[in-house]
Symmetry: C2
Subunit: 172 residues, 2 copies
Amino acid sequence: MTVSKTAADTARPSRASRKDLVEPAADDSVLQLGELAGLLGYSLKRAQLKVFEDFLRCVAPLQLTPAQFSVLLLLDKNPGRNQTEIANTLGILRPNFVAMLDALESRDLCSRMRSANDRRSHIVVLTEKGRAVLARAKKFVANKHEARLIEVLGPEHHALMLEMLAKLAREF
Amino acid sequence: MTVSKTAADTARPSRASRKDLVEPAADDSVLQLGELAGLLGYSLKRAQLKVFEDFLRCVAPLQLTPAQFSVLLLLDKNPGRNQTEIANTLGILRPNFVAMLDALESRDLCSRMRSANDRRSHIVVLTEKGRAVLARAKKFVANKHEARLIEVLGPEHHALMLEMLAKLAREF
DNA sequence: TATTGTTATACTCTATAACTATA
DNA sequence: TATAGTTATAGAGTATAACAATA
């Protein structure tokens, strides 16, 4: 690599002063990922960002984020649970779950109820509107989002992928 | 579901007032994920978090995040590139790349040089120390991190997973 | 004393606009 | 005028400590 001294090597306190001049890359082709392509975590992250982007697009009419959708799904499947149980299952910290629930409750998608057993607990229930929005969201997700994933990966690879990702989330 | 009126239904403006009492879930078993388990994006996210956690543990002696490691790898593989080219390749926005490079440069892992062609560009180069740290990091990653991933998934599934994730990142 | 929901707070990531110096 | 690097800033997401009500 060619390196040549610059004359601006003297009293300049700015950020990039006193740096040598170097030759830029000869060709302007696309950069080589190199070993990055073999790093599972890197591909996992890039793929996850793409998939979440698509989820947002597919469900945009209902204005639901992946996290919000997962909360509604969990509430529907597990009635009578309190905030801590829902949050823990999703890996959300209890303090951070408060604002999330506030947002859903302000849209009348769910409601905090007092537990008949333990007056400290808030049982979180889906409202009628919440159930309706969830039903519509499920259709968008299945028909647009997951359908496209299955199309790109192929049904067998899609299923295999789910298995392996679940295994990583569980055992790793 | 049993729902009974509460007596505290009157003038209490607090957050959880005027709520009915509801029965909590009968059993305290683990919650059902339901259709969440079939959502690729959900498993993708949970798996990615686990994998990044493990990466941080494996490479902790060198104090490198996955993002920093990816920058060092890219610099090594693509000499003579400027900040914008490196950042774009990694999906990092140029403004956000400035602080990232500052951190690496302050640890003498890389260095900004002026381009001999274009005085606006900063060519980013690995320092000797940067090369040494990258070499050590590669070993930790291969021997501890990726080795464990291959062990958990099996070599064939690990390779298949990489392919499919790359396909998603590319085509989806 | 311990737990639930909450507040406050801080730190990281990400995203956009606008400035400067160069081209 | 357009581009590279930078600054400032704002918004998510995530993390911890501590408080009030209740157990």
